[in-house]
C-alpha cells in the first residue's frame, strides 16, 4: 500500500504544457464573466485545439461566487480536473480558496485591488491592474463592471498566445454581429494585451499553438443538442415547467423550432409549445398529446420528475407514447440545484406506482443528446410507452466539443398506428390492447380517426384486450405481463453499449452518461499504471444482452456511478445475480463531475497497486 502513495501520477506528468492544461476562473455570478469565459473557449476552439468548459455556478441570480473551468487538451480529454494550471481570481470572497485549486508552481492571475493575503510561495503571481485598464477604455459607467472581466481575456491571450482574430470572431458570434459591444470589448482586451506585453516577462510552460484538430468539430451543450434532436425527431408537442438544469432544453426548442418547423407553403407551425403551470400539468398535457397521436415530450429534473410519477405510471399502463428528458441535478430533495449527479437512475427507471419499469436512453456525449433526442420519439411510438432520456447537468449545461450532429439515419417511425383504411383491413380482429403480431405491441388508433369502430376508452384502471374496464384476475395478470414482455423486447433495439477492449484484460469497467469523458482519460492513466481494463459504456436500460454478457465474461467488473448508493451497480447486479459478488461499485457524489484522478485512485486502491 505504501508504494501506491509514492507512485507518480501520470496526470501530473503529461497534462501541463503546450495545448495541454486547464484554467480555473473565479468570478462573481452575474458579473458578465460568462461572456469573457466563452470568448476564451471559442477562440481556442477556433485555433484548432480541443477544449471544453464547465460552469460551476451557484443557485443565485447575482452576487455569489461562480467558477468556470476551461480544459485545453490536444489529447481530447474533456473531464474535470481537480486542479488547474492557471487560476484567475476576480472574486475577493473566494480569493483564498481559489489558491488551493492551483497546481504547484502554477500561474495565479488576480485583480490587484484584492487586498487579501497570498498564502503560497510557489505560485507565479500576475496582479492585473483591472481598474486602470477599464478606466483607460472609458466605458459608460453602467458597463464598467460587466467589461472588467475582459481584462483577463487580454492578459491570458498575451501569456498563452491566443490570437486576436479568433477572439474577435468569438465576440462577433456572441453578440450576433452587433458592432458596438464587439468593438468595446475588443478595446479592453487589446489594452490588457498591451499591458501584459509591456509589463510581464514570463516564460511559461503553458502555450496555445494552432492546430487543426477542431475542423470537423462543433462546440455545444447537451441541452441545446437534445432540443435540436427533438426538433429533427419531428416532435409535435412540448409542455414543460422551468427547473434547473433542464430549462435550457425547452428554451432551445423555443429558439430553434420557429426557424426549423414552419411549413414553407403555409407559414404555419407544425408544433405546439406550452409552458405549463407545474410538472403535473406538463406531463399531463404530454400524455394527452401522446394519446392523440402527437410526438410529445417534456423535460425536467429530479423534483419535477417526482411530480410526474403518477402520469408516468398511467402512460406505462395505458400504453401512451411520451418522452421525458431528465437532466439530473443533486438530490435528495431540493439538494444542489446547480450541481451535477447521476442520482435519479432508480427513480426514473421505476417511476410510478405498481410494477413499472421504463425504457431509458442514456447519452454519454452531446452528440448522443442529439441522436437520442430523435430516437426517443421513435422508440416511444414504437413501444407505446414512456421513454426517458437520462442526461445530467454536466452534459446538459456545459460546453463540449463533439462531432457535428448527424442527420437521422432512419426515417421517422410512428409505430403501429391505424388510420381509417388501415383499421378497415383488420377491424374484425382488432382490439386496442390485443397482441395481434405476437410481439407484445398492440395496434393503436388515435382521436380524429373517423372510422366508427376506431374509438376506445383509455384508462388507468384494469382493462381487457378491448380497453373495457375489467377487474378479472387473469385479465389483469396477462395484460401486465404482456407490457413487461413488451419493454423487455426493446433490449436489443435500444442504443447498444459501446465497448472498448484491451488485449488480455480480465476485469471490466461499466460506466454511463457524462462520466464517459473522465473514464476515457482514467483508462489511459491506468494503462500506464499497468492495469488492463475493458470498458463498456451503457447507453440504455433495460440493459442489452451484450452488457450482461460483458459482466458474465469478466472476473471482476467495476460499475461507476455519480451517486452515493451505486444505483446502476444495483440494477445490473439484479440482472446478473450470479455475478453480483464480482461487481464492485465505484460510487461518489459531491456535486461535481467525477474526475479521472478519482477513478484511477479508486481502481489502484482496489487492485492494491
Amino acid at each position: 500500500m505504501a508504494e501506491s502513495k509514492n507512485k507518480s501520477n501520470p496526470a501530473e506528468q503529461r497534462l501541463s504544457g503546450v495545448n495541454e492544461f486547464s484554467i480555473n476562473i473565479g468570478t462573481v455570478n452575474g458579473s458578465g464573466s460568462q461572456t469573457a469565459n466563452l470568448t476564451i473557449l471559442r477562440a481556442i476552439f477556433k485555433m484548432g485545439i480541443p477544449v471544453s468548459g464547465k460552469n460551476i455556478f451557484p443557485s443565485n441570480i447575482q452576487g455569489l461566487p461562480t467558477w468556470y473551468k476551461i480544459r485545453i487538451s490536444q489529447a481530447g480529454y474533456a473531464g474535470r480536473r481537480k486542479q488547474a494550471d492557471i487560476v484567475v481570481a476576480m472574486n475577493p470572497s473566494t480569493f483564498t480558496a481559489d489558491q488551493d485549486d492551483l497546481v504547484e508552481g502554477g500561474v495565479f492571475l488576480y485583480d490587484e485591488e484584492i487586498a487579501h493575503p497570498i498564502d503560497r510561495e510557489d505560485m507565479i503571481l500576475v496582479p492585473m491592474p483591472v481598474k486602470r485598464i477599464v478606466r483607460e477604455a472609458k466605458p459608460h459607467k453602467d458597463l464598467r463592471k460587466l467589461v472588467a472581466n475582459m481584462v483577463y481575456v487580454g492578459v491570458l491571450a498575451n501569456l498563452l498566445g491566443i490570437e486576436m482574430e479568433p477572439i474577435q470572431q468569438a465576440l462577433e458570434f456572441h453578440f450576433k454581429g452587433k458592432a458596438s459591444p464587439v468593438e468595446f470589448n475588443m478595446k479592453i482586451i487589446e489594452l490588457a494585451y498591451q499591458w501584459a506585453e509591456e509589463n510581464l516577462n514570463l516564460d511559461l510552460p503553458y502555450r496555445i499553438e494552432p492546430r487543426n484538430l477542431t475542423d470537423k468539430a462543433i462546440l455545444v451543450d447537451g441541452n441545446t443538442a437534445g432540443a435540436l434532436g427533438t426538433i429533427y425527431g419531428g416532435m409535435h408537442f412540448v409542455s414543460w415547467y422551468p427547473i434547473t438544469p433542464a430549462t435550457s432544453l425547452p428554451e432551445s426548442i423555443l429558439e430553434y423550432a420557429p426557424k426549423l418547423r414552419v411549413d414553407p407553403e403555409t407559414g404555419k407551425h407544425t408544433y405546439v409549445i406550452i409552458q405549463a403551470e407545474d410538472e403535473l400539468a406538463a406531463v399531463g398535457m404530454v400524455v394527452g398529446a401522446g394519446w392523440a397521436g402527437l410526438r410529445a415530450m417534456t423535460a425536467t429534473s429530479g423534483p419535477g420528475l417526482s411530480l410526474m410519477a403518477e402520469y408516468t405510471s398511467l402512460a406505462y399502463f395505458a400504453e401512451i407514447p411520451i418522452v421525458v428528458w431528465v437532466v439530473q441535478r443533486v438530490g435528495p430533495s431540493t439538494g444542489l440545484p446547480t450541481r451535477t449527479a447521476q442520482g435519479d437512475v432508480n427513480s426514473t427507471y421505476y417511476l410510478g406506482q405498481g410494477d413499472t419499469q421504463h425504457i431509458l436512453l442514456i447519452p454519454g456525449t452531446v452528440n448522443e443528446c442529439f441522436e437520442f433526442g430523435w430516437k426517443a420519439l421513435d422508440l416511444a411510438e414504437r413501444y407505446q410507452t414512456a421513454v426517458f432520456v437520462l442526461s445530467d447537468l454536466d452534459l446538459g449545461k456545459n460546453q463540449w466539443m463533439t462531432e457535428p450532429f448527424e442527420y437521422p439515419s432512419t426515417p421517422i417511425d410512428r409505430g403501429k398506428v391505424l388510420w381509417e383504411e388501415d383499421l378497415e383491413k383488420i377491424v374484425d380482429e382488432w382490439g386496442r390492447y390485443r397482441d395481434l403480431d405476437g410481439d407484445f405491441i398492440p395496434y393503436r388508433t388515435v382521436p380524429g380517426n373517423r372510422h366508427p369502430k376506431s374509438a376506445y376508452f383509455a384508462r388507468g384502471t384494469g382493462h381487457d384486450d378491448f380497453a373495457n374496464y375489467s377487474e378479472h384476475p387473469s385479465t389483469w395478470e396477462k395484460n401486465l405481463n404482456r407490457i413487461k414482455n413488451k419493454i423487455n423486447s426493446s433490449r436489443k433495439e435500444l442504443p447498444a453499449p459501446i465497448i472498448s477492449l484491451q488485449p488480455g484484460a480480465a476485469i471490466g469497467l461499466i460506466a454511463f452518461g457524462s462520466t464517459n469523458a473522465a473514464v476515457r482519460e482514467a483508462l489511459d492513466y491506468l494503462q500506464e499504471d499497468g492495469v488492463k481494463l475493458d470498458y463498456l459504456r451503457l447507453r440504455a436500460l433495460p440493459p442489452s444482452p451484450e452488457a450482461l454478457d460483458f459482466i458474465r465474461e469478466h472476473d471482476k467488473v467495476y460499475v461507476l456511478d455519480n451517486n452515493r448508493d451505486g444505483q446502476m451497480h444495483g440494477i445490473l447486479a439484479l440482472e446478473v445475480p450470479e455475478k453480483a459478488l464480482d461487481m464492485v461499485s465505484l460510487a461518489h457524489i459531491d456535486g461535481l463531475p467525477i474526475s479521472a484522478e478519482w477513478i484511477r485512485g479508486q481502481i489502484l486502491q482496489e487492485e492494491k497497486l
Partner: protein
C-alpha cells in the same frame, strides 16, 4: 313507432355508452342523458368528440355515453392538462370533460384555474354533489359549512363556489344548472358545445347515497325549492328556422362565434351575462339570500381560445406526414455551422 333519426342519419342508439354502474337515481345519470340528447340533436358525429374525465363517480360518466367517441379516464384532478394536450392532436374535435366537485374544486383546483385561464375550447361539466362517493362519503370542497355526514361529523369549512372560481379564472362561458332540470341543462350543454372557448357548467347533481339530506344544497329537495333560474333558455342551432315564442323586448340574444345563438328569456331580474363584475356581484347577493342561481351566468364569445393563440396548420397535427415534421438535411448543416 319508427326510431327517430337525426340529420346525419344516426339514431339515439348511436350515441349510447356502456350501461351506467352509478347508483340508481344518481344525478350524474341525468347529466349523461342530456349530453346524449344534446349531441344527438346537434347532429354531432360521435367520432368528432373526445371524452375526458378525472377520477371519481363523476368521472365514470363518460363511459356511459357515446361509445363511438374516443375517451380517456385520466388522473384525479388532472383532466384539464390531459384534455389540453389531447385536443391539440386534431383541433376540429369537440372536447367534453366531465369532472366532479372533488376532482375540480379540491385536488384539481390548480389545473381547473389554468384550463379556464387558457380558454381551452371544450365543454367542462362539473357534476357537483358536495361529497366523495367512491370513497364512501367524505366532504368535498363544495360541501357547505355545517353539513353533517355519517362518519365525518360537521363540516368546519366554507365551501368553494365553482361558478365563482370559473368566472374569477376568466372562463369565457360559465353556467350553473341542476340535474333535475333537463330542459335547462340540455340548452346549456348545447350552447356550451358551440362555444369557442371553455364552457364551464356547474351541475348540482345530488348524491342519493351519501349526501341527499333535505337541508343540503346538493339535495333534490333543497335544489328544487331554492333554485332561481336567471333566464329561461333556448339554444338555436344554425340553419334552423328560429322559432321564438317570447315577446319582443323580453328576450336577449347571445350570438356564439359559429353563427348559433342562445336566447335568454328574462325573468325577474334584468340580468345580462356579459359583465364579469356584475356576475360576481349577483352571485354574492344570491349567496346571501341562500339562493341557488342557475342559467348562463357569464359569457364572452369574443375571448380568444387557446387554439387561436397558435399558428396551426389546417391539417390536424396528428395527420401531418413524416416529411412535414423533419427539417431538411441542409438545415442541419447550417445548424452545425452555428454550434460554436
Amino acid at each position: 313507432m319508427a326510431e327517430k333519426i337525426n340529420e346525419i342519419g344516426l339514431s339515439r342508439a348511436d350515441y349510447k355508452g356502456k350501461p351506467s354502474t352509478l347508483c340508481l337515481g344518481c344525478g350524474h345519470n341525468a347529466i349523461v342523458a342530456q349530453v346524449i340528447a344534446a349531441c344527438f340533436e346537434l347532429n354531432i358525429p360521435p367520432e368528432n368528440v373526445i371524452k375526458v374525465s378525472g377520477i371519481g363517480c363523476s368521472s365514470k360518466a363518460p363511459t356511459y355515453f357515446m361509445d363511438r367517441s374516443f375517451g380517456f379516464n385520466g388522473l384525479h384532478g388532472r383532466m384539464p392538462s390531459l384534455a389540453t394536450g389531447a385536443l391539440f392532436g386534431d383541433t376540429s374535435l369537440i372536447g367534453i370533460g366531465i369532472s366532479g366537485d372533488g376532482d375540480t374544486a379540491s385536488i384539481g383546483m390548480g389545473q381547473f384555474k389554468h384550463v379556464t385561464r387558457r380558454n381551452v375550447p371544450m365543454l367542462y361539466i362539473v357534476a357537483n354533489n358536495g361529497v366523495y362517493g367512491l370513497t364512501k362519503g367524505q366532504f368535498s370542497a363544495t360541501a357547505e359549512e355545517g353539513l353533517a355526514l355519517k362518519k365525518q361529523g360537521h363540516n368546519r369549512y366554507v365551501p368553494v363556489d365553482i361558478v365563482w372560481e370559473a368566472i374569477a379564472g376568466r372562463a369565457s362561458f360559465v353556467a350553473r344548472s341542476f340535474s333535475g332540470d333537463p330542459k335547462q341543462l340540455k340548452a346549456l350543454i348545447m350552447a356550451g358545445l358551440h362555444h369557442n372557448g371553455i364552457a364551464v357548467i356547474d351541475v348540482i347533481s345530488p348524491c342519493v347515497t351519501f349526501n341527499n339530506q333535505d337541508e343540503s344544497f346538493h339535495s333534490y329537495a333543497w335544489g328544487k325549492s331554492h333554485e332561481v333560474a336567471l333566464h329561461e333558455l333556448s339554444f338555436v342551432p344554425p340553419v334552423r328556422a328560429i322559432k321564438v315564442d317570447y315577446a319582443e323586448g323580453e328576450n336577449l340574444e347571445v350570438p356564439l362565434y359559429d353563427g348559433t345563438h342562445i336566447i335568454l328569456k328574462k325573468l325577474s331580474q334584468d340580468y345580462q351575462p356579459n359583465d364579469r363584475a356584475k356576475a360576481m356581484k349577483m352571485l354574492e347577493e344570491a349567496n346571501k339570500k341562500n339562493e341557488l342561481v342557475t342559467g348562463l351566468i357569464y359569457i364572452n364569445p369574443q375571448q380568444r381560445s387557446l387554439f387561436d393563440l397558435y399558428n396551426l396548420p389546417e391539417t390536424p397535427l396528428n395527420r401531418l406526414k413524416a416529411d412535414q415534421l423533419r427539417p431538411s438535411p441542409e438545415s442541419l448543416d447550417e445548424i452545425n455551422q452555428l454550434m460554436y
